[in-house]
């Protein structure tokens, strides 16, 4: 449980948000040409990092906008939040 700094609304309790999983997974540009292996990779395989991870979150009970977050999953510390389409502030 933590406080999340929504890029649109500011600091709010985590219960207002829902997590949309790993960020920056690109949708295949040519879906019809994908092999089964590539589909499995896109649909199911996840980094599931213990450490700093990039995620998508939605401010479900607030502005309802999607944004990205850099969070350390080993201690739940949030390093940054940034809007969709922006470059991650941390590598």
């Amino acid at each position: 449980m933590f406080i999340i700094n929504c890029p649109y609304c500011g600091k709010r309790d985590q219960v207002e948000f829902s997590c949309g999983g790993e960020a920056h997974i690109e949708r295949p540009k040519q879906p019809t040409e994908l092999s089964d292996d590539q589909w499995a990779e896109y649909l199911f395989m996840r980094k599931n990092i213990k450490g700093v991870q990039f995620e998508r979150w939605n401010h479900t009970h607030g502005c309802r906008k999607w944004f990205n977050m850099v969070r350390d999953t080993s201690n739940d510390k949030i390093h940054a939040t940034y809007k969709m389409g922006e470059k991650p502030p941390i590598k």
Binding site: Q14, V15, M45, R46, N48, I49, K50, T73, D76
Partner: protein, 417 residues
């Protein structure tokens, strides 16, 4: 050779003030090389080593554990054992485990306190009723005991449940598996450890794996905090940390690790003699032999390796418990904890070979791995020893995410994941 535990050994040791009990397993230093290394000394890992030694005559085995055995999810679950899964593959898998549970204390000469007190799953809306009835029929076709109980039968089976029609989510009925129940989770790890150790398996605690060494498409060994250990076969049974180990080997898994929470209350006199699970309102409760209510809450919906769990998740479960069991309104909760569960997209486990020769993964048990411990160990041992899955775990291969042949137990398995 280990001394057998019996009434005579108990009397003998009582007379000498319990000071001469033999230690249950050795504390060896790792050898340079093993035929097989099991990474992860939880129930599943220890059971795997036990069955490798017992059924496949492989005794040059090590179990490496970063902390102490049974200190992960084996010691953090709510100890529920059942096999009432919807799909054929899952029903066969979990009932295989349940059958082993029924004779496990005798086999291990270690009391795992397996108690077939029944597991009841409640229905709170019409869709629940349809789903649970369907599951009951599916279970019976698979030879698994399951009955549907109406509202009055639920009340008769567990009188403290509030079955009145004027609560937010009224109880419309439920299913009961009488062969299901609970076991003492630590004893399962200790019993398997003692049994495996007696057959020569080295259990190496406080030994963290730092890397998995590959030579092309074959494994060669593991880098640990106690040095490099060589082995041509490595079985990884690391639950929430499976992705971390897969990353060391350079393979990808379809897992997400999330904290799953549980709580226990102060101990009270016997009040509930079964296990009651409610999927819709997410409240699971049973009573331990010490008298504590053992309550299972939900998972946080984000990846985290912190063994905590959010307060709002526990609060939601306790609200549901209070409405269903008004008698618990003054109970105090003593302890709360989280365990990191590795969840697959189809909420079914992976017991599988990988694209790397000699590397096997047993993971993805998600929120319900404890019940499968003996079966998982047995089948994973078979998979490692023969380099081929057993027919009972063939469906639970890693390739199903490529072929699309998923075993979708989300919502079907009598539990909300």
């Amino acid at each position: 050779m280990k001394n057998k535990y019996s009434i005579f050994s108990l009397i003998k040791n009582a007379l000498s003030g319990h000071e001469n009990w033999q230690r249950a397993w050795r504390d060896p230093e790792p050898k340079k090389e093993y035929d097989t290394i099991i990474v992860g000394g939880g129930g599943h890992g220890l059971a795997t080593a036990y069955y490798l030694a017992k059924k496949h005559n492989m005794t040059n085995i090590a179990v490496v554990e970063k902390g102490w055995i049974g200190g992960g999810n084996t010691g953090r679950n709510t100890t529920i054992i059942r096999s009432n899964y919807l799909w054929d593959a899952s029903a066969a898998l979990y009932d295989h485990a349940l059958k082993i549970w029924e004779g496990l204390s005798q086999e291990l000469n270690y009391n795992v306190m397996f108690s077939q007190r029944g597991v009841m799953n409640l229905a709170h809306n019409l869709q629940d009723v349809r789903d649970l009835k369907r599951r009951t029929h599916a279970n019976r076709l698979n030879g698994i005991d399951a009955v549907w109980l109406n509202n009055e039968e639920v009340k008769k089976f567990c009188p403290i449940i509030n079955t009145s029609s004027n609560i937010r989510y009224p109880v419309l009925g439920g299913t009961l598996q009488k062969r299901a129940g609970t076991a003492r989770h630590d004893a399962v790890a200790w019993g398997y450890a003692r049994g495996a150790d007696a057959m020569g398996v080295d259990i190496i605690q406080n030994c963290e794996v730092k890397g998995i060494k590959r030579n092309g498409d074959k494994v060669e060994g593991i880098e640990t905090t106690k040095g490099f250990i060589k082995s041509k076969k490595i079985g990884v049974v690391a639950a929430g940390h499976s992705s971390v180990l897969a990353n060391m080997a350079g393979i990808r898994l379809p897992l997400e690790s999330k904290p799953l929470q549980a709580l226990v209350s102060e101990p009270v006199k016997p009040i509930i003699d079964t296990v009651v699970m409610s999927n819709a309102v997410h409240a699971y409760v049973s009573q331990s032999d010490k008298g504590e209510l053992v309550i299972g809450a939900g998972t946080d919906d984000y990846v985290s390796y912190t063994q905590k769990g959010s307060h709002n998740i526990a609060e939601g479960t306790l609200k549901a418990i209070l409405e269903l069991y008004p008698i618990f309104s003054r109970m105090k909760m003593l302890r709360q904890w989280g365990g990191i569960v590795d969840i697959c997209p189809d909420a079914s486990p992976i017991l599988s070979k990988t694209q790397i020769k000699g590397l096997y993964f047993n993971c993805g048990w998600g929120t319900g791995g404890f019940k499968a411990t003996p079966g998982s160990g047995d089948l994973f041992a078979h998979t490692i020893a023969n380099d081929e899955p057993h027919k009972l775990n063939a469906a639970f291969n890693l390739n199903r995410f490529v072929s699309g042949d998923l075993v979708d137990e989300h919502g079907a398995a009598a539990v909300a994941h």
